[in-house]
């Protein structure tokens, strides 16, 4: 656009009658052209006179009073920075605005406190539940251990109980065990100590050897001190003159011994 094109837009700009695109174009030009800016000022003065084209109507007498009242109340509320502040809302209505704000703040604080309290209670409840579960497991474990010990004591104190000591072989020289069983019922118990810790893919297996034939018993593992308490059932054919032994076998156990003997009663090395 040439300069004259911009000047063509000035009158309409003074009347705010340009479409947005033309208004942006002329406004950009006005930022760099003092001549057009001065001419626009003149056209705005002319456009302002069009206000006289309106029929003359007088405002109500109370309008001026309202304005001055608001100005006066605004001056009394002027900020420390000196900026004029006009109270657009009567000051006597302020408390009605303050209270809802305070109530909203109080409600927000109460809600937050409730949420925090709920979270703390929930967390405490969760901890208690976990503690109860842990204690329950411990009680069940202790009850189970107690039952086994009762069985052991009962078996060991039975008059008809047969007791046999097992001793470690070269595989486990410090190992030893007590094997007791009831001749009548076959109910038996093995108490070991000193056995090597069970390899991950292996397990110890108890054998009842009657007339030279090994019969498989329970498969078991030991704790870190080599201890284990195993209940089992001695087959009828092994309740008289039998030999007892423990071998290391695959984890699932086998029907015939394949691994080395770790403990045995007197003649089990014949396996």
């Amino acid at each position: 656009m040439v300069h004259e094109d911009y000047k063509e837009l000035l009158i309409a700009r003074a009347l705010d009658a340009l479409d947005d695109t033309d208004a942006r174009v002329i406004d950009e030009h006005l930022g760099t052209c003092a001549e057009c800016s001065a001419e626009l000022t003149e056209w705005r003065d002319t456009a302002g006179l069009l206000a006289h084209g309106a029929p003359v109507v007088e405002p109500g007498a109370e309008v001026g009073k309202r304005i001055m009242d608001q100005v006066s109340s605004g001056r009394s509320a002027r900020s420390d920075t000196g900026a004029a502040v006009v109270q657009m809302t009567p000051r006597e209505r302020m408390p009605t605005k303050i209270w809802p704000n305070l109530l909203r703040m109080a409600a927000a604080i109460a809600f937050m406190a409730l949420m925090i309290g709920t979270f703390i209670l929930w967390k405490r409840d969760l901890e208690l539940r976990m503690e109860v579960a842990r204690l329950s497991r411990e009680i069940r474990s202790q009850q189970s251990e107690l039952a086994r010990e009762r069985d052991t004591i009962a078996l060991l104190t039975t008059l008809d109980a047969q007791r046999t000591e097992l001793v470690g072989t070269d595989q486990a020289k410090k190992a030893r065990a007590t094997f007791a069983f009831d001749r009548e019922t076959g109910r038996a118990i093995l108490l070991t100590e000193g056995l090597p810790v069970t390899p991950v893919d292996k397990a110890y297996e108890l054998w009842f050897i009657a007339n030279g034939h090994p019969l498989p018993g329970r498969v078991f593992t030991v704790d870190t001190s080599g201890r284990a308490t195993i209940s089992d059932q001695v087959p009828p054919e092994a309740r008289e003159h039998a030999v007892f032994a423990v071998t290391l076998e695959p984890k699932a156990g086998v029907n015939s011994p394949t691994g080395p003997i770790y403990m045995s009663s007197s003649v089990a090395r014949q396996l």
Binding site: D45, L50, A51, G53, V56, G60, G64, I67
Partner: protein
Amino acid sequence: MQPEQAQTPDGDLLRAVARHDEAALAAIYDRYKLILFSLIIRILHDRQEAEDVLQEVFLQVWRRAADFDEARGRGFTWLVTLARSRAIDRLRALASRGRVAAQAAGWVSDNTGDAASDASKSEQGAIVRRALIELPEEQQRALYLAYFEGLTQSEIAARLGDPLGTVKTRMRSGMIKLREVLRDKLNTTS
């Protein structure tokens, strides 16, 4: 309101208002309440809304008088621009709620009689009104639609069913003629 400080120029009064001189604001109000309220009610056609806008305008003058720069236009122009801008904003807000659409129609050229009968209230106003009456009706109509209803040239063309170029020419011719007439007459009276 207090008695008008009749001899004080508008610029001086506005600078006093910028210093938070309530008496200066009262003087500005007394001097221009009639023309500004007439302009606002001409735009809004609703007395209650117009009084509300007039109040807003003077409170804005109180807050923003420091923005007035005499190098960029006369005090009267600054005040009228504020009032027109506020009134048109209100008009658009009301129009969006459908309150003034019916009233706006038919108010294009029915005001010259009233203007003439009120001419005695302001010498300058009387001169301007006579100058407006002298404009061809189509020029006057285009200017009024832009000034009192806030329409763009394209909207005026659509409203009147005239080509856009014709509307532009009428507005330009009307403004040039008005400026020439007023420049002569106002200079001779001032």
